[in-house]
């Protein structure tokens, strides 16, 4: 096949940068569109909280050296018929029109702010801009930090910040990580308690009220009012897809991650809903899938016909608690515990996923079990 022309990648997170790097290594001209330098995402953002620096993956000079052109801005307008992208520059706010040939969409998910009166004061730490705003507020130790939402990002954030700050973690469910197997929630609750995090579970937030001196009062339905110097919102995710791509949470792709029904448009990372041979159409909002999907799209553009068949995998560190899960947890999941492995069974009884709690050495066993099912 002929060598691919210039590839435009929208999204400078894990998926977009993995794709850009692989293509550039193969000599394909690449334009990477996104605000700021390529930046890693959670789970590594918690390490950023410790080092107090956003986890950028490349400097401007490294991008240039790699042959990656960086358009520092937001993709604001997508015209698929004319194959033209509008990019609003980060520095001066002006609009550039960029004509593309191959297009890779890798903008991921964004955190949304939960609809609570006064939530505007909350910071978010899942993207580099949010992190850059948050970090100076955490320089002084001993701050009262309120984290809203005990999903993976919120729970990791609360555990990490507990080393230097006084942290309250607010959550609607009775347990942190309530969407996962109950054993994870219980283990996380115990670890948070040992770290000194105040876990305010079963808790609805009514409003956040500013108080003199720059701090805030968080009024809840179930606990007393809690004062905080810094508020971090980590509850819920929202779509980043433009209208031209359906504005939904995800884009349906084929087995090579080409967007269904569009010519020369690809998707990878959180937003790609791809047909997995065993789990059906799935989207996986985790680091592993972002990196592997980005690299896969690069290979596909270079001419590979291989399908993207990777078994889903994610990991999380909540203080000293390591959580890993291989496979895809079905909506109806029957758990069993066998030989130290938590096995999630689909309705037909097959092992659909395996959960590991503080057992990193068992990862290969877990992978084999899921692959053999």
């Amino acid at each position: 096949m002929s060598a691919p022309g210039r590839v435009t990648i929208v999204g400078n997170g894990v998926a977009g940068y993995a794709c850009a790097r692989r293509l550039a290594e193969s000599g394909v001209p690449v334009t990477l569109v996104g605000p700021g330098l390529p930046c890693d995402r959670p789970p590594l953002s918690k390490r950023a909280l410790i080092r107090r620096a956003a986890p950028y993956m490349a400097t401007a000079a490294e991008l240039t050296r790699a042959g990656i052109e960086h358009l520092d801005g937001w993709a604001v307008d997508l015209d698929l018929a004319r194959r033209r992208l509008g990019v609003r520059s980060t520095a001066r706010g002006e609009l550039h029109e960029h004509d593309f040939e191959e297009l890779v969409w890798a903008t991921g998910l964004r955190l949304r702010r939960p609809p609570i009166p006064g939530i505007g004061v909350a910071h978010q730490n899942a993207d580099p801009a949010g992190l850059e705003e948050l970090l100076p507020r955490l320089e002084r130790p001993g701050r009262r930090v309120a984290v809203i939402g005990a999903g993976l990002i919120g729970t990791e954030t609360a555990a990490t910040l507990s080393a230097t700050h006084r942290v309250t973690l607010f959550e609607r469910d009775e347990l942190p990580l309530g969407r996962l197997h109950r054993a994870v929630g219980q283990a996380a609750r115990d670890v948070l308690a040992a770290l000194g995090v105040h876990f305010a579970g079963g808790c609805g937030l009514e409003r956040i009220v500013p108080i003199p001196g720059g701090s805030h009062l968080i009024e809840t339905s179930t606990h007393s009012r809690i004062a905080a110097d810094v508020v971090i919102a980590a509850a819920g995710v929202a779509s980043t897809l433009p209208e031209a791509l359906g504005s939904g949470p995800t884009l349906d792709t084929d087995e090579r991650l080409a967007v269904a029904g569009l010519d020369g448009v690809w998707a990878c990372g959180d937003t790609a809903a791809f047909p997995h041979p065993r789990f059906g159409r799935i989207a996986i909002p985790h680091w592993d899938n972002a990196r592997a999907g980005g690299a896969h799209v690069a290979q596909a553009i270079l001419g590979s016909r291989e399908p993207f068949v990777r078994d889903p995998y994610w990991f999380s560190d909540i203080g000293p608690l390591r959580v890993q899960q291989v496979g895809f947890e079905p909506a109806v999941c029957e758990w069993s515990l066998r030989d130290g492995l938590h096995i999630g069974h689909a309705e037909d009884g097959r092992a659909a996923c395996v959960l590991l709690l503080n057992s990193p050495a068992r990862l290969n066993d877990a992978r084999r079990l899921v692959a053999a099912a």
Binding site: A292, F315, P360, N364
Partner: protein, 66 residues
């Protein structure tokens, strides 16, 4: 077959991305730390292993320098 991978045990935290990429080149030991299974490999294969590590625990050394 000229490149060796070096896994820094102080940096590796055992996320296992490397074994997902290339289970014939790397395994996890009893502590969940990655360990190379093959002494030398092609540069391309070694570079892929470096690229998949979320914490940058894997580096390359060419065999002539080893």
């Amino acid at each position: 077959m000229e490149t060796q991978i070096i896994i820094d045990p102080d940096v590796c935290v055992g996320y296992g991305e490397c074994i997902a990429e290339d289970a014939e080149a790397v395994e996890l030991d009893d502590n969940g730390c990655a360990r190379a299974l093959v002494p030398l490999m092609t540069r391309d294969r070694a570079e892929r292993l470096c690229a998949v590590c979320p914490v940058g625990a894997i580096s390359l050394r060419s065999a002539s320098a080893a």
